[in-house]
Symmetry: C2
Subunit: 496 residues, 2 copies
């Protein structure tokens, strides 16, 4: 992996001086086209060894580019707002929108590589591989969402690194950058090399290979990175839009036994008499109130997803949850059409940005599952795109729930007849008319397609850690109590 970057590559001054002016104007042109077409975001990662010239190269590169459309993210120590959220949150929040170049100086690779290299005792390869796998999946999602991902690794052979750090230390202008690097550091060199080599090999994909830059010669480094960036942006701008592959299983494939589905097996008629409901409501709301005041709750956060048929009673159920907890610590996020800032990012971005801090609850009224429900049924995205979404959503939820977030997902199901009854009722009761629109009637005509989508969704995204709870909601009382009770049980288990 690193052999080619230890050959002593260099560029002489004449070649460099001859190339740079044209290169700069080509970079500006490419950047302008990128920005103007809002074609795609460029995610440029910079990693590598200490003293490999990462900082200088990024600075040279940004001085050649139009700085208005570049964002350099020096991913240093996380802030407390970042520490209170899943690991990847800080990277998501820094993702560039379409048309911009986001340079990550330090990235999602930094922590795994350093942890593995600096660990006492043996390297925990299995742990590293797991992180690598998560990274591969994350980057594939970025690519599928249209991002151009470029990864540069600045390498120095051991001797070259020692020499370079000595030079940096001598110069008062650069000394500040290498404080704290001493002989002990080089003892780790071999292990660092081994760990990063494995990481690079396993995360080099067809669309986003690592490019290893020999860090000895300034001119070589700068030209290398700038030429690669230019080439990649131009190639992507000029490339014909790739046709989406056909997914393995078309959505209209007939079921072998369509009589029994997850939805058809639900006993939608389940009922709770009003007096019993009122008692249970008090009980479970009280229990939920206590749980959210639990000492240990302050170290957890909660994400609740509500999906369901139109008129299934999501709003009323959500109100029974929010009214049980301190209003300061809960936020309900209604999901409607994305804003233009949201549209300029991968589709999961708008959900990442709403993830709660520790001690807080976020309730999504509709959610990322829109991708495999309305977008699938209405054809807002291609079959390939919603098919890949199952995996992406699973990754997202795993990342979130692995980082101390308690997640609960509810599907509120009503029968077609009950829906009709409610639609008609809504049309008649004056202050409910706003709840019923033409769209609701349109969706109703696609009842079967939605049912198929729901069954697929549950089958493919329910996991032991983040299961779906299907709620029989023909009777509102039953539905609300089932939701409250499930939430309490989930929280009980998490705080235990």
């Amino acid at each position: 992996m690193f052999e080619d970057a230890e050959l002593g590559h260099s560029v002489d001054k004449a070649t460099y001086d001859a190339r740079v002016p044209a290169l700069r104007s080509e970079l500006l042109d490419a950047q302008f086209m990128l920005k103007d077409a809002r074609a795609f975001p460029v995610v440029l990662l910079v990693g590598g060894v200490e003293g490999g010239g990462r900082g200088e190269t990024v600075n040279a590169l940004t001085s050649w580019l139009d700085p208005r459309h570049v964002e350099v993210n020096g991913m240093g120590d996380p802030s407390d707002e970042e520490l209170e959220r899943p690991r990847m949150w800080r990277f998501w929040r820094a993702l560039p929108p379409k048309g911009k170049i986001g340079i990550f100086f330090g990235s999602w690779y930094t922590a795994p590589i350093l942890q593995a290299s600096l660990a006492k005792g043996k390297v925990r390869w299995a742990k590293l591989d797991r992180r690598i796998d998560e990274i591969v999946r994350f980057e594939r999602m970025l690519e599928e969402e249209g991002a151009l991902v470029l990864k540069f690794w600045f390498h120095l052979a051991k001797g070259a690194q020692r020499k370079r750090i000595r030079e940096l230390k001598k110069d008062p202008l650069t000394r500040w950058r290498v404080t704290g690097i001493d002989e002990d550091y080089f003892k780790k060199y071999d292990r660092f090399r081994e760990v990063s080599e494995r990481t690079l090999r396993h995360t080099s994909t067809a669309l986003a290979p690592w490019l290893v830059v020999e860090g000895v010669d300034r001119r070589y480094r700068e030209l290398f990175v700038a030429e690669e960036l230019l080439r990649a942006v131009k190639a992507r701008l000029e490339a014909p839009k790739a046709a989406r592959p056909t997914p393995a299983r078309p959505s209209d494939a007939p079921e072998v036994d369509a009589r029994r589905t997850l939805l058809s097996e639900l006993k939608l008629t389940k009922k709770l008499p009003k007096p019993r409901y009122e008692k249970d409501l008090e009980k479970w709301q009280g229990h939920l109130a206590l749980l959210t005041r639990h000492r240990r709750f302050r170290d957890r956060s909660v994400v609740i997803v509500f999906e369901g048929n139109d008129a299934a009673g999501k709003g009323g159920t959500i109100r029974r949850v929010t009214s049980a907890v301190d209003a300061r610590f809960v936020r309900v996020v209604p999901i409607a059409a994305p804003t233009d800032e949201e549209k300029a990012h991968p589709y999961l971005w708008r959900f990442w940005r709403q993830l709660p801090r520790k001690g807080y609850i976020t309730i999504f009224d509709r959610s990322w599952y829109g991708r495999v429900l309305v977008e699938r049924v209405e054809g807002y995205c291609t079959p390939y795109d919603w098919e890949r979404a199952y995996g992406e959503i699973n990754d997202f939820e795993e990342e979130v729930s692995n980082n101390g977030v308690v997640m609960a997902k509810f599907w509120l199901a009503i029968s077609k007849t009950e829906q009709l009854r409610r639609f008609k009722e809504r049309e008649q009761v004056s202050f409910k008319t706003f709840k019923i629109t033409e769209e609701d009637w349109r969706n109703r005509k696609k009842w079967d397609a939605y049912s198929d989508a729901v069954c697929d969704m549950v089958a493919r995204t329910s996991s032991a850690k983040v299961p779906w709870t299907l709620v029989e909601a023909n009777d509102k009382y039953h539905a609300r109590i089932k939701v409250l009770k499930t939430l309490c049980e989930r929280l009980d288990a998490a705080l235990d």
Copy 2:
């Protein structure tokens, strides 16, 4: 101020039970209309004494409202990201968009009132008054921008407060909320009362008066706040759009001596020969590089504003600044049309959200001055709106610069002839053509109107702390060096 709130107001159960169902459906209706029209944001502040029932009332209120369109902000201790920015940043970031209700549990009043009340020795009234003045100006801006500001103060007479806290402490369910409140606390009661009374009196305005709620009776509190909220939202929804007042000085008023203006006095022909430029560039870029690595720089942040005639060379100048500093710590924000999230907030919101953390530099390529330049000249807002913007911008810059941010503002001026020359050049040079558009030619026709706007802008927003620097930019070399030199001097002074 508090007399009426010590009379023992209460509401009996029958009255309460009779009113609540209708009140709730009226609240939901009003909220729906508010949301649907994206009419205005509601900013609801909750303040008052400990034990006054603020929390319970907010919880009751949110349980009656549609929680999807309410955001409750428990403004507790600031996070480190908030501490690294001007005081008001955390409130700006929490401002609700149009169509939503933002409840602030704790607000911009909390710190000034607590600081004044709990200070050792005498109350520093002058300091308090200054903060009050800032608040009045801030809230006036919110109102001018269309927000409905509602302020509720929960009051208890001394004896009533003592009694209530005793009750809260007895109940295991509420005990956690009053830990740490002991007899010492009541010693401060009188001073707290005096400080808050003065604050409330001075911040009660026609559009946003404080409403004092007697905190003894739960039903009274809840009805009081809910009825006021309902009334205010409905009144605002039904109110005819108020005509904007005519400003005192119309923009086409003739100047008494129009021969001499800030712009006409500039010696646009100032020149710097190339060899001298190259020397100076190295010198000042080097100096700037050192300053931004100064130990004390990590505790400051920098905001730089670039405005100027079209084709005045802003882009090139900005590049000379950014290329002198570490790319990780600088961000250039190009100001184009606002996104829809930005449009849903007061016009300064999009600039507040970009303010840098400590140790970082933000460069605005065009800025909030668009309000008094393009928006004025093109008639995108009324004369009243851009006239009030001078004061609002001054307040904004004072708030920011008083909180450790170094600010510099540059106007790059070229002559009309020089602009023509550059336009033509841009049309001819292939990779510069993207820089020249129809709009540039249109703006050029309004040269005089823009000049008037620039002179007014400088005259009214240049201050000792945040002065404008007018840069003669017919010669790019001269302009760049003047900008770099000014920046260095400003930073030198700030870090000294």
